[in-house]
């Protein structure tokens, strides 16, 4: 009722005839809903196969320690097997209490990051001193990604969301393209899930959280392992840190590579 200036004709009443269009008189079967073109055109891109990613970021690793969270990701965005963009920061400071590391299709990461930035601006516009918390952002992301997946048009991303809650407790979670969310003291995407998670879990003290030094040392070690073993990684990475004093993105750090052992390797 408010928008009377559309150029496409509206139905005369709900489910009623639209001037200029065909009207399905009752009695027959329900007309199947017309899917958008991108889901009906055949072909490898722009197509029915909306579940492929094109330019991708590889692993992201997040570790929760007693004073906050750290999220690390290398600075490579690949184009298939080509190491195309080699200086891309994939860890973002969302606001004073949230950091986000993005893996998966990088265009989708940039798209969701833009929407999140708009949300931060909305928060500022309210000017009530209330800013979004990491758990709220993680929950919102889960809803959006699950909704997209249910409509067969996913955002092909795997993100790590971390930060400090209102009461000072650190929060870390991983949300993937299907809207599956998981909260833990260590989360990872991509190859880090296979290589880094067991490493960190093995070193977790049973009765307490990590300290900041332990967490950073683990990140350093894991990035090193990932560089050696994940073929879509590179030796340069950035680390986002969120603690009570705020958020910073440190880096780029470099893996201290040493290939002298390569000559001794036989087989895999």
């Amino acid at each position: 009722m408010l928008n009377n200036y559309n150029s496409i004709a509206q139905p005369m009443w709900q489910n009623g005839p639209t001037p200029g269009a065909f009207y399905n008189f009752t009695g027959g079967q329900q007309q199947t809903q017309k899917l958008p073109k991108e889901l009906t055109t055949a072909g490898p891109f722009g197509t029915k196969r909306s579940t492929s990613s094109i330019t991708t970021g590889s692993s992201v690793l997040g570790i929760r320690y007693d004073g906050g969270v750290m999220i690390a990701a290398d600075t490579l965005v690949s184009y298939g097997s080509l190491a195309r963009y080699q200086n891309i920061n994939r860890v973002f400071a969302i606001n004073d209490s949230i950091i986000l590391g993005g893996g998966g299709d990088f265009a989708d990461i940039q798209s969701i990051k833009r929407t999140i930035d708009q949300k931060m601006i909305e928060d500022q516009c309210y000017a009530d001193g209330i800013s979004m918390k990491p758990k709220a952002l993680s929950s919102w992301l889960t809803r959006v990604l699950y909704n997209r997946r249910s409509r067969m048009n996913p955002l092909y991303i795997d993100v790590v969301v971390g930060g400090i809650e209102q009461d000072g407790t650190p929060f870390l979670s991983n949300v993937d393209l299907r809207g599956r969310a998981h909260e833990d003291y260590v989360v990872a995407t991509g190859f880090a899930r296979h290589l880094a998670l067991p490493l960190v879990r093995e070193r977790k003290p049973k009765d307490r959280d990590f300290t900041a030094e332990e967490a950073f040392e683990l990140i350093r070690k894991c990035m090193e392992v990932l560089y050696y073993r994940d073929t879509r990684n590179m030796a340069q990475y950035t680390v986002g840190v969120c603690n009570a004093t705020g958020t910073t993105i440190d880096g780029p750090c470099t893996v201290s590579e040493n290939w002298s052992f390569a000559a001794t390797i036989k087989g895999y």
Partner: protein, 295 residues
């Protein structure tokens, strides 16, 4: 139009401009909106006040053998509730809207909705009804009590879509007495304990009871509280009586005789309730200029 003016000249001048919400008066007033504010004054009084950690709502509910209790206090979410004065049907709709907003926020963000954002959205929704020819303003005033990351909150939302953040407020019939009591004790609320806060609220609302014994018998005082580690809760009969007794030990409420100097209206710009006076219709329009509702 001339014919109409001739017929109604004995009535108040302002009646020419009160047929539609979308018609301004020459003094720059929207009479339909102001009439809607009158509807709030027809409802039984309700009082809200807050301390650092708690926000409390007290309401006078009409109860008699023949009628069921009209709901005055409505919980909206775990951290937020409202108390109403005016058209219950409109209040029900507003309450449903607020509940849906809170629920939707919780579904998306797994967190309670910040109180001021909810009332801002509500204010914007209510404003739309004051600017369309095919809608009318909601005829209910509400007090919103909530607790979120920013602490305790108390808001007053009126049919004019004015949203005010308050430390203490009373609306409804004879609420001026309650407001006077609240003003007198305002400085003590911030550091009050939960019990003290409730007692202050009860004392405030007792002043609005009036002297008619029949009416007293028909009205019961209901209390609701929300705060740090305290989800929104409406007290049951036992607790109500307990606090009522506690409050009586505190002292006397403001007497209505004291209020003869103050009119029941306008000190907070809530709109006029002047009755039409055929003999003095020329003066009437000037006399009511002071009470415009513009903020």
């Amino acid at each position: 139009m001339n014919l109409e003016a001739k017929n109604y000249s004995w009535k108040m001048f302002r009646n020419l401009y009160d047929n539609d919400t979308t018609v301004w008066s020459p003094q720059g007033r929207l009479f339909q909106v102001e009439y809607a504010m009158e509807a709030v004054k027809q409802g039984a009084a309700t009082v809200g006040l807050k301390s650092k950690d708690y926000a409390v709502l007290i309401a006078l509910c009409r109860a008699s053998e023949t009628e069921t209790m009209q709901p005055k206090i409505m919980p909206v979410d775990m951290h937020l509730g409202i108390s109403i004065s005016g058209l219950t049907a409109d209040a029900r709709l507003i309450c449903q809207y607020m509940r849906t907003e809170c629920m939707s926020f919780r579904h998306s963000y797994a967190d309670s909705m910040p109180v001021n954002r909810l009332v801002t959205n509500l204010g914007n929704k209510m404003q739309a009804t004051t600017q369309r020819y095919d809608r009318r303003p909601y005829g209910v005033g509400i007090l919103v009590a909530g607790y979120d990351d920013g602490g305790s909150h108390l808001y007053q939302v009126m049919p004019s879509a004015v949203v005010l953040s308050c430390k203490a407020m009373a609306i409804g019939a004879r609420s001026q007495t309650a407001r006077t009591y609240l003003e007198r004790h305002l400085d003590s609320f911030e550091s009050s304990s939960m019990d003290e806060l409730i007692c202050h609220g009860i004392q405030a609302i007792r002043g609005t009871l009036g002297h008619s014994h029949e009416e007293n018998a028909a009205l019961t005082i209901n209390v609701a509280i929300v705060g740090a580690n305290q989800p929104f809760k409406t007290f049951g009969e036992e607790e109500n009586l307990k606090y009522l007794d506690m409050a009586k030990l505190m002292g006397n409420p403001v007497e209505e005789a004291d209020e003869a100097k103050h009119s029941d209206d306008d000190l907070l710009g809530q709109g006029p309730s002047a009755t039409p006076d055929p003999e003095n219709d020329e003066d009437a329009s000037i006399a009511t200029v002071a009470s415009t509702e513009e903020t």
